[in-house]
């Protein structure tokens, strides 16, 4: 437990170190999640387009 607290404390630099790592996690997470979300929406829209074209050609 003590070792863990010492680890979290980062020799007194906790704020600096963890805010850097936190920021990295945030921007990397967003960089991955946003395209994935976009993909789901794109798939929906493309399905609709394909369906529309099918109904037109019929």
């Amino acid at each position: 437990m003590e070792a863990f607290l010492k680890f979290i404390d980062m020799g007194g630099y906790a704020g600096y170190v963890w805010s850097s790592y936190g920021l990295a996690l945030l921007v990397f997470g967003l960089s991955i999640i946003l395209p994935l979300k976009e993909k789901r929406q794109l798939e929906k829209r493309i399905r609709r387009i394909i369906q529309n074209e099918k109904s037109v050609s019929k």
């Binding site: 630099y13 920021l23 991955i32 994935l36 976009e38 399905r47």
Partner: protein, 248 residues
């Protein structure tokens, strides 16, 4: 042989299929590298004898700074390919690298500034590295702004390719001029990384993180490129068959 591979890669359905198969592997490797790099950097590496534990920001900051340049080089290279051979995939890689490149640059800037606070006592010093990084961020933002300002996306891609090539000629000049300017004004600044010999226990996690960043970049670009490709080619046959195969 290589040319044939590039041309094959240039075909959208092939690229889409290949990237789809690659992504899980890349993600796995990226995850392992990050886990190893973080464990090594945060736990195994000893504290720096001057900077204490604050030096651990290095594992976020330095790979991000490396990537900010690396991504720009890739953009310039694919820009050249897009202009010379008109390969669609090169265009797509070029454009979809811009955002993640800007993210790396931004991260390098902010963490540099956070690191600067305990080291220099202020959040911002007009240090040569930080200033160059700031200008690089503006180059990225310029590319993103230009791309979103042009409605016709194929035209926009060509514009961005030209701009990336102009930028890549300028980066060394900008870098050199800023370096020169800062030595003139501040004398030798506190250089953070020019230690005579960095402890291997510190170095190995840094290299691991650098590779992890590269994989992360590849993953993000592929994800974005696949979306872009799907939308651009939404009326094509292969997209239609792709969606009918899924049967949904």
């Amino acid at each position: 042989m290589i040319m044939r591979f590039i041309y094959q890669l240039g075909s959208p359905p092939y690229f889409y299929a290949l990237s789809g198969r690659l992504l899980p592997w890349l993600s796995g490797l990226c995850f392992i590298l990050f886990a190893a790099g973080l464990y090594g950097g945060l736990v195994l590496a000893p504290a720096d004898y001057q900077q204490g534990d604050s030096f651990r920001i290095i594992y976020i900051h330095v790979p991000a700074a490396w990537m900010s340049l690396f991504v720009y080089m890739i953009m310039a290279f694919s820009g050249a390919m897009a202009l010379i051979w008109r390969i669609k995939i090169a265009e797509i890689i070029l454009i979809n690298s811009a955002h993640i490149g800007a993210v790396f640059t931004f991260l390098a800037l902010v963490t540099g500034s956070i690191w600067g606070k305990p080291m220099w006592g202020t959040w911002w010093v007009w240090d040569a590295r930080l200033t160059s990084e700031l200008l690089l961020l503006f180059l990225y933002l310029g590319i993103i702004a230009l791309y979103s300002a042009i409605d016709d996306k194929r035209k926009a891609a060509r514009a961005v390719a030209i701009l990336a090539l102009v930028g890549v000629v300028n980066i060394p000049i900008i870098h050199y001029s800023v370096e020169w300017w800062s030595t003139l004004h501040q004398g030798p600044t506190v250089t953070k990384f020019d230690k005579p010999s960095i402890d291997t226990r510190m170095l190995i996690p840094l290299l691991l993180m650098a590779f992890a960043y590269k994989f992360l970049y590849a993953i993000v670009v592929l994800l974005r490129a696949r979306n872009d490709l799907l939308w651009r080619e939404r009326r094509s046959q292969w997209v239609a068959t792709l969606f009918s195969k899924e049967g949904a």
